[in-house]
Amino acid sequence: MAHTHRTSIRFRLNDQTVELAGFAPDLTLLDWLRLDRRLTGTKEGCAEGDCGACTVLVGRIDNGLLSYETVNACIRLVGSLDATHVVTVEYLNRPDGELSAVQQAMVDNHGSQCGFCTPGIVASLHALWLAEPNPSEADIERQLQGNLCRCTGYEPIVKAAIAAAATLPDADNDRLVAAYDATTEALATFADGARVTIEHERGTTFVPGDLDDLAVLYEAHPKATIVAGSTDVGLWVTKHMRDIAPVIHIGHLEELKQISVDDAGITLGAGVSYTSARGALVSVFPQMAELWDRIGGEQVRNMGTVGGNIANGSPIGDTPPPLIALGASVTLRKGGNRRTLPLADFFIEYGKQDRQPGEFVESVFVPALEKDAFFAVYKISKRRDEDISALCGAFHVITDAEGVVTSARIAFGGMAGTPKRAQAAEAALTGRPWRWDTIQAARLALADDYQPLSDWRASADYRMLAAQNLVIRFFLESCGAPARIERHPALAEA
């Protein structure tokens, strides 16, 4: 299929239009802002997307609507910015130059001490302020999961977020609102469907024109690094200085961002971000809500994709355990050919997936829950939010009218070299009555399923014990007994 070609990307930076060519495939947005543009308000705190000091807003047209999301500039590659609007802290004040509602509230509530995290916090709270006129404390905490502050203890920052909400965004007090139509028009012009090729001595960056173009490019460059949200690849660059060229960006491809829901289940394109997936996914599987809000921080959820979480094959990815327990399947594509396999079979062993050179993850299908099914997923981590699982267990059990288990599918992350089903535990449940003694048998059987490792996230003993106890939690919850700490109970009552 014929495509127009470009050799530069075009985007907006604050109030300027930028056209960039000839940049390195591993150039990060943060380095470009600080070193090239001397916009030093945005800070580097960790260079791995965990601390949020580098938070900026990126606006993009999605289904015709311009919306802004927070991202970590430290791990965002410049090549992914075509047809976006990058907004840094220097541009978040009011059009008249006065402090924005968020900035003023931060000052009034003593929300900054050393000030180094503050530009990132201001960016995160600004995004919340634009999106949510009346944020709850839970909303604010979720928004700030990806922003570390070491000085304040966060209390004044949360108060500032609440205080800022007293002012609603409008064209007089916010530059993004004021320029909304003009920005929308500019970005629409930039998004011309052309393939962009950027050459640099360190290698090539490709921005395919559409999904078919991606298939063509990847078949031609099977060793290329496919970059969707760069929440993982970004660290290959910033931490390991790995050569990632050539790079193919897919985060902009509309075809990969499709979400469809029907009676059979839900299909997520591989490029659907965690944030985009949340609404539809949680409507089908409300049991996934808590886990979903504990994947990374808000910036990572805005960037990272379910497809990437699967494709990188990590044994501690958050999404594979529940998706495997639900019986999800994954569709892979190479050139014009597609094949679909159970997700459980995609993970072969540590570091090895069933994916051929030039083949990419195109979509995931998750079947809807059966009637009479119990399903739950539990993530255990050292810190509750924005942490990587020590272990993550998902349980999917169907019982018949007599209360006998007819099907059990259990999957754990963090317990083996891949996300893996607990076949012995499943066998201990299947065909047995759903009661305490059966649960005890399944609990013990987990020791046959897994030989977890000890590392800095947890010891092998803890992993096994907690995994076994999660079987109890699942049983108790299936019986309606409280078995988890309730978050924000006061808010839930209100």
Binding site: G41, K43, M106, H110, G115, N469, I472, I485, A490
Partner: protein, 790 residues
Amino acid sequence: MDTSTPRSRTEISGGAHVSRKHDSAHKHVTGSADYIDDMPEPAGTLHGYLGLSDRAHARIPSLDLNAVRASEGVVAVLTGADVPGVNDISPSGRNDEPVLAEGKVLFHGQPVFAVIAETRELARRAAKKAVIGYEDLPHVTDVRAAMDANYPLVTDPLKLERGDIEAGLAAAPLRLKGEMRIGGQDHFYLEGHIAFAIPGEDDEVTVWSSTQHPSEVQHMVAHALGTVSNAVTVQVRRMGGGFGGKETQSNQFAAIAAIAAKKLNRPVKIRPDRDDDMIITGKRHDFVVDYDVGYDESGVIHAVDASFAARCGFSSDLSGPVTDRALFHADNCYFYQDVRLVSKPMMTNTVSNTAFRGFGGPQGMLGGERMIEEVAYALGRDPLEIRKANFYGGEGRNVTPYHQTVEDNIIGRIVEELETSSDYQARRAEIIDFNENSPVIRRGIALTPVKFGISFTATWYNQAGALVHVYQDGSIHLNHGGTEMGQGLNTKVAQVLAEEFQVDLDTIRITATTTGKVPNTSATAASSGTDLNGMAAANAAQQIKTRLVAFASEKFSVPAEQVEFIPNHVRIGNELMAFGDFIKLAYQARIQLSAAGFYKTPDIHWDRASGKGRPFYYFAYGAAVSEVSVDTLTGEYQVDRVDVLHDTGRSLNPALDIGQIEGAFVQGMGWLTTEELWWDDEGRLRTHAPSTYKIPLASDRPKIFNVKLADWAENREPTIRRSKAVGEPPFMLPISVLEALGMAVASIADYQVSPQLDAPATPERVLMAVERLKALVADAEMSGKDGADA
């Protein structure tokens, strides 16, 4: 100064004892506050990066840096042999900390060479290309293992002794022994270390350093360059957090940047990546506390014999005073009749541990609180009752293990008020009821007190200087020896100055700390910043005011008593003059409008050899009640509510003080809960980035968080406007969180067994403590059954 602004004659804006925003708040929120990496780089600026050891303990028979030298953009490679002066930056003077290791490495991550290149990225890439030959030597990373292996001490230990410990223990009706393990902590300042050296004429160099201790950086740079201090100027406007991590740890980066800058005659900047920063720089000391406690049925402690062994790392750094301070705080608020406390500053093959908010005090205090907790559970009592039974106070019960008499004790009143305001008793009863009917979720509550000694225990550090200029237009330039790392020191000192001169706060400009303006400063540490520098600034103002009063008295022929500084004006007899106008007159009369202020803390002394003295000018007090929920299936937990009542004397700035308390609380809570340092068998620290090292998030802060200042408190000593230091003392308030978690765990065995929860109480440690108690209960039930059968 905007002289068009009408200035009040009745009240200044921003004097002492009022809440004012941080002086840089506006710049923070707009991204216009410059940190060192934000400064424009002069033409020709080069960038350094460090090459690190990847062994924990080894000889280096060969170091092949050819590929590094040949790497793109590399201008120079430095090793220890290139240090022109002394290859040492040990702040203890023990010559045990090389700038760059030579011949041998003592921990995984020790800097071995530096590469200087045209860009930071090129320097970083080049640093990876070294071929370092190693001959491995046995290594030890753990404190207990170091003791077992008879590893050396990095510095002289301390013993504090009072009474007859052997007799006291023998005579006590009841006795218990135990061990507590206390983890370390990474500072996780958001701005990592950075040094930017700009060469000057002759042997001169200016170093911008993210440091809490510019004078020491100055001395270390001179020492390493082989020159004298007057050749080196060190500057810092602000740090993105310090917490003690930039007290001595800045020396290395500054020294290397300065050496390279002088060698190449080009500006050189060094900024390690976060992971390398966490690997290269020291942390809070991990401790193992062994205790032997004699007590009686009423819970009164008679005798304490305890040792505090610390993971000091490969060199002494500040481990001597840190472990000393642990002993100084092992009593917390409690009188021990007979006591012996000893420190064991153990060498280990880990990064050299250093200052961190509390400086050993938190670990000492936590050990002391563990003893209280053990006594309480042994007697089946609420630990709060045991605390009260042991508070300092009453005849003969006011002397600390270091023979200082506690004279300003207000802990009784603080605890009483907090117990009432937090409704502690009713909530505790409700929680015990709840736990009886809740199989999985258990709750806990605890009230713990804090008494923290204020002053550097090295008495000579308790001095400070300030430099104040009043310009002809009446605007004031403030400089002092303290450094701003977020705590609001500059704001508070400016408020002191505003109060002295009776001018609005915005009359005063705060300027970057520099060794060229105020010499021989102490670290901004030990919570002392405002106490010391505030007094020095006040002293400078008073000198200028004295001259001004004499001038006015003479010129207008009025008695000196009739010259008065009133808000933004000066009253001279019956005349009222705007401050700026008055200053212009004084200038024209050739009055010196600049002064160097000085302060030294009075009445303190400390004889380390005898373990006796008055090391602390005063104590700061506080208390907290924490309530938690624990999931006994997984060990997960959350902090449901915290109430704090804290003593800052007559607070100079209540808003900033509350900010310090809230921030210290959450940071201390992190230390005791999710922040875990983890070394693997090869001696590699594996938690060296925020992805693996977990400091608290907004969602971890207490769900209800009530923080109050004890507004009736006043420092009995004549400190700056009777305020008290606030940086460190509240860091220990979250010991209440650990103990509340312990209570939730202890509910498993009906509060009859001490939970012995070590720190950090990760979900794993909590679950394992639950399991230990479950096993004890099961054993007891089993033996009870056997008994019935028999």
